[in-house]
Each structure stands twice: as structure tokens, then as C-alpha cells.
């Protein structure tokens, strides 16, 4: 029984304690007792500070560690604090019978003086400062984008003049990666979007027997808007993020530096093929998405609304004009530029750490989607005003 209980106290341990006594005038004795481990709670140095403050004539502080049991850096942190208190009050600290290891570690912790100016001061900026810095950052990011766009245009100029240098095999790889390799996800997404559009339309149109107009609804919506928009959003998540991550990792590995110092333009070499690939592939993906969406609509039309496949096809043919398709395709080429630009820009701007690559990928997708939606809005207004 007794053995058991002593066993238990050993496992639980004794709480860390301090006691302060005046051994003689001007000499304070600080006794440490119990287990000083990080895992159990630790006393703070506040009591020591209070004691030092109340007894003004103290000239030395002696540590007593005869009852000290286990200890780790918890003890050390406490001692560093006490030492600092002593230093500021010009009180001499006598380590007394402190364990040898603790004494050495304490010496080590204070061996190298703090580098001046290295510690970051965490001054909390006030609201106005915050608004100011944020606005400046926004302005700066706008400038960055314009600068990047300008460089990309120059690079295109060199391409047209036949002076841009990049590897053909890179271009073909990227074209495959953002063309054929994207087909499965584009298939699923646009088929389902067509299906959903048809469902939503069917419920309303069936009420007054106009279910044949589901074909027009799905066809026009897919061709004008959804085909281009959905494929652009998919590509910004799939390819834009990949571009940012690739170029970001190259930045981290100094690969882009290696290019620059060899006199190779990273714009020509890395950004241009990615841009060309997306400008070529996005319209194709958009046409494919349009057709998949119309197919999705047809499944609902034929399966749920009892329209015959021929009826649905004819209704689509008469309802959707070539203009609708053209508007969608032109938009998708522009979306391609936006996805490639934001992906490459965030990648090239990437910092030099693993977390920076993650941020670059995230910010590439966000930037691309914002630009896509804004551009789409501008397009809607323009086509409406022009009556297209």
C-alpha cells in the first residue's frame, strides 16, 4: 500500500514552488522546490519582482536548489527572467547550489548578446495607417499587373518579329497539359451545368407547356455564357494554379535567377508558351464545353420532357445563332489570357519559401476568377449596348 502511494506521488510529481526569505539584511534567498517541468504549471517571476521592489536595500539574491527535483527549460526560462530582474535592479545574482547543468545553460542563454535591431517590434498600426498601407498595396498590385501585362505584350511583339526564344517541346507539353488533359473535368462540369440549366428551366416552362424552349434556354446560355465561364473557372483552378506553383517553385530553386543571369528572358521562356497554350486551347475547350452542356440539356429534354432527340436538335439549331457561339469563343480566348497572366504573374512574384508557393497558387486562382467575372460583366454590357 505505502509503496503504491509513494509510487503515485513520484509519477504525479511535486508542483514547482518558490519561497523568498531574507537570510540577512540585503541578501534575499530564493528557494526553488519540486519539479520544474514545462508540462506542469510553473510559477512566474512576478513574486520575485514584488519582493525585490518592496525591499529596496537588497544587494544580492542567492538561489537555493536543495529541494529542486526534476527540471527542464521551464526552470531555465524562470531563471533568465530572474536574472534580467536582477540586472535591471543592480542586484547581484548568486547561483548558490543550482545544478551544474542549469548553471551552464543559463550562461549559454546569455552568452551571445541580443543583436541590436534584429528583434521585430510589434507596434500595432492604427486604423488610418492600416487603410493607408492597404490602399498603397492595392495601388502597387495594380501597377504590378500593368507592368506584367506590358512585358507580356513586348514578349508577344518579339514572338511576332520571330525573336522570342522558347522551347517548342515546352509549348507542346503545356498545350497537352491544358488542352487534352483537361477534357475529363470539362466534360463532367459542363454536362452537369447543361443538365441543371435544363432542370431549372423545365420546371418553369412546363407550367405553360413551353418545354420545347428548354432547348433554346440551354443552347443560348451555354454558348454565350456558361461554356466560356465554366471552362475558364475550371482552367483557373486547374492550370492557373499549376502555372503559379511551377513558376513559384522555380523561383524558390533559383531557376529563374539562373535564366536571368544567362540572359534568357523568363518572360519569353516561361510566360509566353503558357500564354500561347491557353489562348489556343481555351476556345477549343469552350466549344467542347458548349456541346457537352447542350448534350446535358438534351438528356433532360428527351428523358424528362418527352421531346424526341430530333425535336430537341432542331429547336437548338433554330434557337442558337452563330453569333452566340462567336461571342462565347472570343470571350474564352480572353479568359485564357487572364488565366495565364494571373498564374504566371503570381508565380514570378512568388517569395522564396514553401508557404510563398502556396500563397502564389491561391492568389493566382483568386486573381484569375475576379478578372474573369469582371471581364464577363463588361462583355455583357458591351454586347447588350451593341445589340449583338
Amino acid at each position: 500500500m505505502t509503496v503504491q502511494s509513494s509510487e503515485r506521488t513520484r509519477v504525479i510529481g511535486r508542483e514547482a514552488e518558490i519561497s523568498l526569505t531574507h537570510a540577512e539584511p540585503g541578501r534575499l534567498l530564493l528557494r526553488l522546490a519540486g519539479d520544474w517541468k514545462l508540462t506542469s504549471g510553473l510559477p512566474t517571476a512576478a513574486a520575485v519582482e514584488k519582493q525585490l521592489e518592496s525591499s529596496a536595500g537588497t544587494s544580492s539574491l542567492t538561489l537555493g536548489a536543495s529541494d529542486l527535483r526534476d527540471w527542464d527549460s521551464g526552470l531555465l526560462a524562470f531563471l533568465v527572467e530572474v536574472q534580467e530582474l536582477c540586472r535591471t535592479r543592480a542586484v547581484e545574482l548568486d547561483p548558490g547550489d543550482l545544478p551544474d547543468g542549469a548553471r551552464r545553460l543559463l550562461r549559454l542563454a546569455t552568452a551571445v548578446p541580443e543583436r541590436k535591431g534584429a528583434r521585430r517590434t510589434q507596434a500595432r498600426p492604427d486604423f488610418l495607417t492600416l487603410v493607408g498601407t492597404e490602399s498603397l498595396a492595392l495601388w502597387k498590385s495594380g501597377e504590378d499587373l500593368l507592368g506584367f501585362l506590358g512585358e507580356a505584350l513586348q514578349s508577344f511583339g518579339r514572338l511576332i518579329a520571330g525573336r522570342a526564344r522558347f522551347r517548342r517541346s515546352d509549348l507542346i507539353d503545356i498545350i497537352f497539359e491544358c488542352g487534352a488533359a483537361a477534357l475529363p473535368i470539362i466534360t463532367v462540369m459542363s454536362f452537369l451545368v447543361g443538365l441543371i440549366l435544363a432542370f431549372v428551366g423545365a420546371i418553369q416552362l412546363e407550367q405553360f407547356g413551353a418545354q420545347i424552349y428548354v432547348a433554346d434556354l440551354v443552347g443560348i446560355a451555354m454558348a454565350r455564357e456558361m461554356g466560356a465561364l465554366m471552362s475558364a473557372i475550371i482552367m483557373s483552378g486547374r492550370t492557373g494554379a499549376a502555372f503559379a506553383a511551377q513558376l513559384g517553385t522555380m523561383q524558390v530553386n533559383e531557376e529563374i535567377d539562373a535564366m536571368t543571369t544567362l540572359g534568357l528572358s523568363s518572360m519569353d521562356f516561361l510566360v509566353l508558351p503558357r500564354m500561347i497554350a491557353l489562348i489556343l486551347m481555351m476556345p477549343l475547350l469552350c466549344i467542347y464545353a458548349d456541346l457537352m452542356g447542350i448534350l446535358g440539356g438534351a438528356v433532360v429534354g428527351v428523358g424528362m420532357l418527352d421531346l424526341s432527340p430530333t425535336e430537341y436538335l432542331n429547336a437548338t439549331l433554330s434557337g442558337v445563332s452563330l453569333t452566340d457561339f462567336t461571342v462565347g469563343i472570343i470571350k474564352s480566348a480572353i479568359f485564357g489570357v487572364l488565366v495565364a497572366l494571373s498564374g504566371c504573374m503570381r508565380g514570378i512574384q512568388c517569395g522564396r519559401s514553401a508557404s510563398a508557393v502556396g500563397l502564389a497558387a491561391t492568389s493566382a486562382v483568386v486573381t484569375a476568377i475576379v478578372f474573369i467575372i469582371v471581364t464577363d460583366g463588361v462583355f455583357s454590357v458591351l454586347t447588350n449596348a451593341l445589340g449583338i
Binding site: 548568486d94 547561483p95 543559463l106
Partner: protein, 269 residues
């Protein structure tokens, strides 16, 4: 070293250079010159701005003040075309090799050749193989950078840096992460390149063995005073430099009378 005595004209000159990231000044008032055929060591403790200085020399970072001259040309006052022409005469070995990960080793080495020469693909391949053989990587032409070890990546990086037979070779911590034998081999290779190609070499390192094995001129950057505190042959500096900080560094902290770390406020036990 005889080489340096015979052709003492400066190849790279740094004048009143201040380096800064934004408002944070790294080093100020750097003045030194690298002679043709030198193996010039940029040394100093960690975080003193060695790699930043290298970035200024290879044209990746613009100086906050001062100038970097190649021969007589001021690099940062030259226009883009001129600057690219100067940069093409460099070869740089980055700390981790910085090989382009989407290309094989032979493609990495061959890319600068393909871009700046009129060689046919077969010839490029042959020269790339030759350069790789020079650094001891014959047979690894079709490996990707991720498939080889760190030391091999460094050597492949060197093969790429040598692709265009540069006049100046820059090395960023060549022996970091290499075992003693490989790092000795790399040192020998650097000496060999200097002697056979007549190249000027600038090396950022704090590996003492390499510093004494290859360096014949150096500059010592200090993080506390934020400027250079010594320059000259590292062996001379070790024995005669008036600044104890430099001698202490070059003697691996074994200098007598070095300040002993002490517990403030507590007597030594």
C-alpha cells in the same frame, strides 16, 4: 597566383557599394577589385550579406548606391542589351544547382548553347556531353535533376555555368551540403578551370578548408559594422590581419584571448 601577378588589371571593380533591401541596409561602402585570374573569396559570418553581394555582382539586384564595373563598363549604367552581353560572359553556380527541373541534364547544359550559338542540335549535344564529362558526370545526360544526388546536381550546375566558356565564374557556397571528398574535388575543379580557361572566379563561402585551398584574394564582410573589415589573401589575413575578428574567423574561433561568454550578474561557478 602567378597568373594574377602577370595580369594585374582589375576585372571586376566594386566602388562605394551600398546594398539594401528596401530601407534595411545590409552592407555599406564596399570597395574592392577582383583581378583577372583571381580566385576571389567573399567571406563572413552567416547573415552578413555574402549572397546578397553575389547577387549584385551577377546583376540580379541593383545597388542602393555605388557601382559595379566589369573592366571599364559600369554594369548598372549600361542599357539592357549591353547588360545582357556582359551577363553572357558570366557563369554562375547557384547554391542548390538551380537546374531547370523540367529538362534533362544534357538539355540544361545545352540550352545556353542553343540560344546563343548557331550550333546544330547534334553538336550541342556533343558539347554538353563534353562539359558533363569535365565535371565527372559522363553518362548522366538523360537524367532529370530530381533523379540525381545533391552533389551531382551541383556539378551539373557547374557544367551549365561553363557551357559558354565564361570569363568569370561565380560560385554561391560551392561546398555547402557536400561531403569532404566531393568538396575537395570541386575545389580542385575550380583551380583547374581557372588555370586552363584563364577564368576569373568569385566564390561565396565560409568553408575554411576551401578558402585556404583555392583563394588568393578575398573580402571579409562583417554583419555588426555592416561593412567590409578586411581584404587580401586569406592566408595572409589569417596570420597578419590586425582585426582579431577576421583572424578569429579564419582560425575557426581558436584565437587566443577571444572574449569568453559570461553569465551576466552571476560569478562563474
Amino acid at each position: 597566383m602567378t597568373n594574377a601577378v602577370m595580369t594585374p588589371e582589375p576585372h571586376i571593380t566594386v566602388r562605394n557599394l551600398d546594398m539594401a533591401y528596401g530601407d534595411f541596409v545590409i552592407q555599406r561602402n564596399l570597395n574592392f577589385s577582383i583581378r583577372r585570374g583571381d580566385i576571389f573569396i567573399i567571406m563572413g559570418g552567416s547573415g552578413c550579406g555574402k549572397s546578397t553581394l553575389l547577387k549584385h555582382l551577377i546583376g540580379l539586384m541593383a545597388p542602393a548606391r555605388g557601382e559595379v564595373l566589369f573592366g571599364e563598363r559600369d554594369f548598372w549604367k549600361a542599357d539592357t542589351v549591353e547588360r545582357e552581353r556582359i551577363m553572357r560572359r558570366f557563369g554562375t553556380l547557384y547554391q542548390s544547382g538551380a537546374l531547370w527541373s523540367s529538362m534533362t541534364l544534357a538539355e540544361n547544359v545545352g540550352l545556353p548553347l542553343g540560344e546563343f550559338t548557331d550550333l546544330k542540335p547534334v553538336e550541342i549535344r556533343r558539347i554538353a556531353s563534353l562539359k558533363m564529362a569535365l565535371v565527372g558526370l559522363a553518362g548522366f545526360e538523360d537524367f532529370y535533376p530530381s533523379e540525381i544526388s545533391g552533389g551531382m546536381r551541383k556539378r551539373a550546375g557547374l557544367a551549365r555555368a561553363m557551357a559558354l566558356d565564361p570569363e568569370i565564374l561565380f560560385f554561391d557556397e560551392p561546398s555547402a551540403g557536400l561531403d569532404p571528398i566531393s568538396s575537395k574535388l570541386l575545389d580542385d575543379l575550380i583551380l583547374e578551370l581557372r588555370d586552363s580557361l584563364g577564368a576569373t572566379v568569385a566564390v561565396v563561402t565560409h568553408e575554411l578548408a576551401s578558402i585556404f585551398a583555392i583563394g588568393n584574394n578575398s573580402v571579409f564582410l562583417d554583419a555588426d559594422t555592416k561593412t567590409m573589415i578586411a581584404q587580401g589573401d586569406p592566408k595572409t589575413l589569417r596570420d597578419q590581419c590586425p582585426d582579431p575578428k577576421v583572424r578569429n574567423f579564419l582560425l575557426r574561433g581558436e584565437l587566443e584571448g577571444k572574449p569568453k561568454p559570461e553569465v551576466r550578474g552571476a560569478p562563474e561557478g
